[in-house]
Amino acid sequence: MRISDRLRYEIFEKSLIDLKSELQRTQEMISSGKSILRPKDDPVNFSISIQFDSEIEKYEQYVRNTERLIMLGGYYDSSINKIHELLGRAKEIAITQASDTMNSDTRRASSEEIKGIIEQLVSIGNTEVQGLYIFGGKKLDTKPFDLNDDYSVTFNGTEDMISVYTDSGVKEDLGISGYRIFLKGTDIFSVLKGLKEALEENDVEGIRDSLDGLNQALSMTETNLSYVGTYVAKLERTKEILELRKSEIQKIQSEFRDADLAKIVSDFNALTLTYQTMLYAMARIQELNILNYLK
């Protein structure tokens, strides 16, 4: 083949351009740490990696949601324990004051303590966490329990709860309603109110009757305690699964998207070498000029 001078340079020019763009790509890979830089490098994996990124973001959100519920679970747990303790104390009082050795004075005095217990329970029921009433059901911004003058208690919340997502398509209650803790099955406040009134009125029969209610309240509280335990345990498990899934996705993601640095660096070296060789060859070929030999 006849090689013209223009052709001689053009061949170099084209190859140099190709090499340079390869070099540029490798440089980008090294600096970004990714092997897929733009959609056209690998359209399918690029688009999958968008979904993966979104999944990871979503899982992080679900983990945050779950952590929030777990944190709330802690409050419920300690609140219910406290309720149990107070109910136990009330039961003690009822048992003691039901005895014939006690008189109206001691009973009147004890009724004051029961009043205190009711007040404490109301204050537990009105627990606020970060500005929200956690026993109010859906009405997180309304004080759920009002203590009336006659020591009866009004519930302002709702029985059902706000639900939030803890996973794709999976909803969980945002906490436990005060209705379930204080009122469902046995109305703790009316049992205590009954006890208070029986004590005030020195009504031994009434005191004994309220013991039944207290026992029911205690067993309800114990059930609730284990309910909170299960609630938290379930959430802990959900969180674990979410994190596991997240790290699985990150692993796959990194396998096909992250650049194999060792390989890229060696590619880069090879390319640099080719580039240098080419420049050298070009310089040498330029020396091959008839004008150097003509005088």
Binding site: M1, R2, I3, S4, D5, R6, L7, E10, I11, K14, L37, R38, P39, K40, D41, D42, P43, V44, F46, S47, I48, I50, Q51, D53, S54, E57, K58, Q61, Y62, R64, N65, R68, Q130, G131, L132, K138, K139, L140, D141, T142, T158, I162, S163, V164, Y165, S168, G169, K171, L174, N289, I290, L291, L294
Partner: protein
């Protein structure tokens, strides 16, 4: 037969070698000129004379200047250029579009996920103003991203339309230059022997023209070239050129390619272009970009409909019902997507609750439902979620851009093989030219010696008769 005829032969030889040297010099000086075909002298012996019984040669003369060119190859290159230039339009603009859509740059999917996550946060704390601030901020980010993508695509579309107009002007310029060259070649030649440089120039212009629009051309008996579009509309006929025009526009104000006949009537030939930059530009402008813009529009519309549907069914912090979250639009969803004025003016208008109790909102059900939209299959008749939609858009753009790059690579490499072949025939090699130069130099020197010899012969003759 005389001594003076030796002088005459020497003179002709000098003239011929001088010419050859000049041709060589011209070749050397055009070593890097694109489209230049190397030239060579065609020398022939001058007619002979019969003297007695002998027939004697009468020296040399330059019959003409030959242009090394392969017409078949030139034609192929011209045709291949149509494909090359069309593909290069696709590559350039698909790369642009890819950069616009690519998640790496647009962050569309990321912003969408952040938007829905902000609703998750609100569902955990449905009365909070600061979570509402988060929702509003992420929503306004999302609107901005969608509008940006749409507007960038639209900008590319406008740019393509502008490019179409300048390309049409280029076609007209080239056509008229070819017509002009046709005239000059015809005037400066008799029959098929034309001015080599003008022919090179015309061939180069044909190649330029064919890069813009697919053409057929042929040479007539007078050495003039006739150029037609694929639809058979004349662009160049001898010394006359016909114009294309961008005056016909569609309902979007985008130009078509129209051919102007001798009476000035415009005929739309957009659909018959078959190849070249003009076709590439129209395909891009009216095809893929439109489809992508429609997809972004669908994304925006679905987002507005779904979020607003839920948002309007709930109650704001002040107990109001029926507040749209996004501005309600009837068209240009992606172009104009924005948060509604209600939300812009008051954070408390962001709805989280599904119930009302004594004028106060209860619960965060709406926030939860809106947050859940990210996993709902709300696209393509319930087959794709919003993330899948965005991801498939990236996939599609990637595939198209990749295809375009590969096609251009292929066109480039076949073109460059042909270009090499052309260079091999028509290109200038300095080595060759230098060798020729030395050859002509010796010939010149030898012819000069003839003068000396004739001179001495004359002297001897004159001395003899003195």
């Amino acid at each position: 037969m005389s001594i003076s005829s030796i002088l005459n032969i020497a003179k002709n030889a000098l003239l011929a070698t001088q010419c050859s040297i000049q041709i060589t010099a011209n070749n050397i000086s055009n070593v890097n000129t694109e489209g230049y075909s190397r030239q060579a002298p065609v020398v022939e012996p001058q007619g002979s004379v019969k003297i007695g019984n002998a027939i004697l040669g009468n020296g040399v003369y330059i019959k003409g200047v030959m242009r090394y060119t392969d017409k078949y190859l030139e034609r192929q290159l011209t045709e291949k250029n149509t494909e090359l230039k069309e593909n290069s339009v696709y590559k350039t603009y698909y790369d642009r579009i890819e950069a616009i859509i690519s998640e790496e740059n647009s962050k569309l999917s990321e912003t969408i996920t952040r938007f829905f996550n902000s609703w998750h946060e609100l569902s955990l704390d449905p009365y909070s103003l600061s979570q509402r601030e988060g929702v509003r901020a992420s929503a306004s980010d999302l609107c901005l991203v969608i509008r940006n993508i749409y507007n960038s695509l639209f900008k590319v579309q406008m740019e393509l339309d502008e490019k179409l107009k300048t390309e049409i002007e280029d076609v007209n310029r080239i056509s008229s230059e070819i017509a002009d060259l046709n005239k000059r070649i015809f005037e400066g030649s008799s029959g098929r022997v034309g001015d080599n440089d003008l022919m090179d120039k015309r061939q180069l212009l044909l190649k330029e023209l064919s890069g813009r629009i697919k053409i057929t051309y042929f040479e007539d008996d007078f050495g003039m070239i006739k150029v037609l579009t694929r639809s058979g509309n004349l662009l160049v006929d001898g010394g006359t050129s016909y114009e294309l025009s961008s005056a016909i526009t569609d309902e979007n104000g985008f130009s078509s390619v129209a051919w102007k006949d001798a009476l000035g009537n415009l005929i739309d030939i957009s659909s018959t272009l078959e190849g070249g930059e003009l076709k590439g530009i129209i395909e891009m402008r009216d095809g893929v970009i439109n489809e992508l813009m429609n997809e972004v529009d669908l994304l925006a519309q679905t987002l507005i409909d779904e979020v607003n549907g839920l948002h309007k069914s709930g109650y704001s912090l002040s107990g109001k019902e029926g507040i749209p979250f996004f501005k309600e639009l009837s068209q240009y969803f992606a172009k104009d997507i924005d948060i509604s004025e209600d939300i812009k003016s008051d954070l408390r208008n962001i709805v989280a609750s599904e119930e009302l109790d004594g004028g106060k909102p209860v619960g965060g059900g709406i926030a939860t439902e809106i947050a859940g939209l990210i996993d709902k299959k709300i696209f393509f008749n319930g087959t794709s979620s919003i993330t899948e939609f965005v991801s498939s858009m990236n996939n599609r753009v990637g595939q198209i851009a990749r295809g375009a790059s590969e096609r251009l690579d292929f066109s480039e490499s076949t073109y460059s093989i042909m270009e090499k072949q052309r260079e091999s025939v028509s290109g200038v090699s300095i080595d060759e030219e230098m060798a020729n130069l030395i050859r002509y130099q010796y010939a010149y020197q030898a012819a000069s010696r003839l003068f000396n010899i004739a001179d001495e012969l004359f002297k001897n003759l004159i001395d003899a008769v003195r």
